[in-house]
C-alpha cells in the first residue's frame, strides 16, 4: 500500500499540469458552440419552408464567416503556443486517432466556411452578411462548380458532425473513464 500523504495534493499537481493556454481554451469553446450551432442551423434551414428558413439562413452566413475569422486566429495561436502532450500511457493508436481527428477538425473548420462562401459566389448570389453588407465573390459564377461545392458543403457537414460526436465521446471517455487529465487540458478544473 502506498502512503497517500507522501504525494502532493491533487490540486497542486493539476496546477503544474501542462494545459492549453486560456486563450486557446476560450477559442475552443467559443468555436465548439458556434460550429455545433452551425450544423443544426444548416440542416434546420434546408428542411423548412416556414419563415424560420430566412431567419436561419441570415444567421448561418455571418456566423459561418465569423468562425472562419476565429479559426485563422486559432491556428496562429496554436503555432505560437503548441499543445500539451498527451499522457505517456495513452495507447499509440489512440494518440494517432486524437492527432488525426484534430488535423481533420482544423481542415474542416477552414474548409466549411470557404466552401459555403465559394458556393454562394458560384451561384451568383449576393453574399449578404447583414442588411446592406455583402462579401465579395471568391470564385466566378459557374453551374458546374456550384454543384460540386454544394455536394462538398453538404457531405463535409455530415462528416464534421460525425467527428464531433466521436470527439465528444472521446473527451468524455477521458473525463469519466480514463480520468487521465486530458479533459482538463481543455476544460480546466482540477485533475481527477
Amino acid at each position: 500500500m502506498t502512503d497517500a500523504a507522501s504525494f502532493p495534493k491533487a490540486d497542486a499537481v493539476a496546477d503544474e499540469l501542462p494545459r492549453f493556454t486560456p486563450l486557446q481554451r476560450l477559442i475552443h469553446w467559443l468555436m465548439a458552440a458556434g460550429i455545433i450551432a452551425m450544423l443544426f442551423i444548416g440542416v434546420g434551414m434546408v428542411s423548412t419552408i416556414a419563415a424560420t428558413h430566412l431567419t436561419l439562413v441570415s444567421i448561418h452566413k455571418p456566423l459561418g464567416v465569423a468562425l472562419l475569422a476565429l479559426v485563422i486566429i486559432r491556428i496562429a495561436v496554436r503555432f505560437r503556443y503548441g499543445a500539451p502532450p498527451l499522457p505517456v500511457d495513452l495507447p499509440s493508436p489512440m494518440k494517432l486517432a486524437a492527432k488525426a481527428s484534430h488535423y481533420a477538425f482544423y481542415g474542416l473548420m477552414v474548409a466549411m466556411p470557404l466552401i459555403g462562401w465559394a458556393m454562394l459566389s458560384a451561384a451568383d448570389y449576393p453574399i449578404t452578411l447583414w442588411g446592406g453588407f455583402n462579401l465579395p465573390p471568391i470564385v466566378a459564377p459557374s453551374r458546374e462548380l456550384h454543384a460540386l461545392l454544394w455536394d462538398a458543403h453538404r457531405t463535409l457537414a455530415f462528416v464534421f458532425f460525425t467527428l464531433v460526436l466521436l470527439h465528444v465521446a472521446a473527451a468524455l471517455f477521458h473525463a469519466l473513464v480514463r480520468r487521465d487529465g486530458v479533459f482538463q487540458q481543455m476544460a480546466g478544473g482540477a485533475r481527477p
Binding site: A51, H53, L54, D124, P126, G132, W150, A169
Partner: protein, 344 residues
C-alpha cells in the same frame, strides 16, 4: 481483482457517454426533419411540381420555359420617398430578366401560357441587388404555401374529385379561377401586366416602414386575342414574338408600387387590396435585348424574391420565405444537372 464500485461507475460513465452521443445524434436528426415525415420540406414542395414522367433535368422545376432579356431600370426618383434603397434614386441600373410561363416543361406549347411570368434582377452601384419574379394573374390561387402544396398535389392527382374537394376547402381559389376563365388572352409577353402579389416592407430614409405590393404595367397596349386563335399558334409563338418585337425596338413597363392601408391583408396574396390604395410610379424597365435561355444571362440566375437591397425586406407574407427555400432546391438541382441541358 474486480472492484464492484469501479465497474458500476464504469457502466454509469459509458451510459452517460452513450446518452450524450445518442441524444446529440437524435437532436440532429430531428432538426434535419428525418424524424418528422410530415414536415413540409422545400424538397417535397419542389417534387410536387414534377409531372408523372419526372422533372425536366437541368431546367427550372416551375416556370420551366422562358427566354432571357437584358436592359435597364430607369428610376425616376419618386420611390425614394418610400424606400431608401439605391434602386429608387433617380438613375439607370442594369437589368437581367426572363420572360416565362408557369409549367414544369421547357417544351410546353406557348398556347398553355395562361400564367405568364416576368423575372427581374436589378443591380445597383452600391453592390446590392433586387430580384423578383412576378406573374400576370392579379391574385395568387391560395392563401398559404401549405395550401399551394396541397393544390399541386390535387392537380396532379388522378382522383376525379381531387380538384373539386380542394376548391371546397380553399374557397379563395375562386378569385384566381375566375381570372383564368375570363381574362382576355394576349399574343405578347410585352402586353402583359406582371404582379408581384407578395407584400414586402419598404423602409424610407427616416426609418418609416410601409407594407407594399408592386406591378409592372406594360407600355404596349394589350390587344386581346380569342383563346381559339392562341391555340392555333406555333408552339413557341410567344418567344418568337418577343424576340422579334424587341429586336425592332425596346419594350417597356412602368413599376407601380401600391402602399397598403393599415389592416390590408398583407399576409395573403390571394386577396387583392382595395382599388383606391395609394400608388406611386417609381420608374420604367426597358428590355432591349432577348436571348435564348440555354446560354443566356438569365439561365443560372435564381430569381429568389428574398434577394433584396437594404430598404426592402420581407413582411408577414409567408410566401417569400417558402419561395426562397423552394427556388434554392430547384436551383441546386438544375445546376447539378447541367449536362442534361447543354448550352447551344
Amino acid at each position: 481483482m474486480a472492484d464492484p464500485t469501479r465497474s458500476r461507475s464504469l457502466l454509469a460513465s459509458l451510459t452517460a457517454i452513450g446518452f450524450v452521443v445518442g441524444g446529440g445524434a437524435a437532436a440532429f436528426a430531428y432538426t434535419a426533419g428525418w424524424l418528422s415525415p410530415d414536415r413540409l420540406t422545400p424538397a417535397k414542395v419542389v417534387d410536387a411540381f414534377a409531372p408523372p414522367g419526372g422533372p425536366a433535368l437541368g431546367h427550372r422545376r416551375n416556370h420551366a420555359k422562358g427566354v432571357c432579356f437584358t436592359g435597364s431600370f430607369e428610376s425616376n426618383g419618386a420611390g425614394a420617398e418610400l424606400s431608401k434603397a439605391q434602386v429608387f434614386e433617380a438613375g439607370r441600373y442594369p437589368v437581367v430578366g426572363r420572360f416565362n410561363f408557369g409549367t414544369p416543361s421547357p417544351v410546353a406549347p406557348d398556347a398553355k401560357a395562361r400564367v405568364r411570368g416576368f423575372s427581374v434582377r436589378i443591380s445597383t452601384p452600391d453592390g446590392q441587388e433586387w430580384r423578383s419574379a412576378q406573374i400576370s394573374a392579379p391574385v395568387f390561387p391560395v392563401s398559404t404555401p401549405q395550401a399551394f402544396y396541397e393544390l399541386l398535389q390535387a392537380s396532379g392527382s388522378k382522383a376525379p374529385e381531387a380538384m373539386k374537394n380542394f376548391a371546397a376547402t380553399h374557397p379563395e381559389i375562386a378569385g384566381f379561377g375566375g381570372w383564368t376563365k375570363t381574362a382576355p388572352w394576349t399574343a405578347s409577353y410585352a402586353e402583359e401586366r406582371y404582379n408581384g402579389l407578395n407584400s414586402f416592407i419598404f423602409t424610407d430614409a427616416g426609418g418609416k416602414d410601409r407594407a407594399v405590393r408592386w406591378s409592372w404595367v406594360p407600355e404596349a397596349p394589350p390587344v386581346s386575342v380569342p383563346a381559339d386563335d392562341i391555340a392555333k399558334r406555333g408552339p413557341d409563338f410567344l418567344q418568337e414574338e418577343i424576340t422579334q418585337r424587341i429586336a425592332a425596338g425596346p419594350a417597356r413597363w412602368t413599376l407601380v408600387v401600391t402602399v397598403a392601408d393599415p389592416g390590408d391583408p398583407t399576409a395573403d396574396p390571394s386577396k387583392a387590396w382595395p382599388a383606391d390604395r395609394r400608388t406611386v410610379e417609381v420608374g420604367k424597365l426597358i428590355a432591349d435585348k432577348v436571348e435564348p435561355e440555354a446560354d443566356g444571362p438569365c439561365r443560372d440566375v435564381n430569381f429568389d424574391p428574398t434577394v433584396l437591397p437594404l430598404g426592402i425586406r420581407t413582411s408577414d407574407d409567408p410566401f417569400p420565405a417558402a419561395r426562397s427555400a423552394a427556388y434554392a432546391v430547384s436551383f441546386d438541382r438544375r445546376t447539378a444537372e447541367a449536362k442534361d441541358y447543354p448550352a447551344k
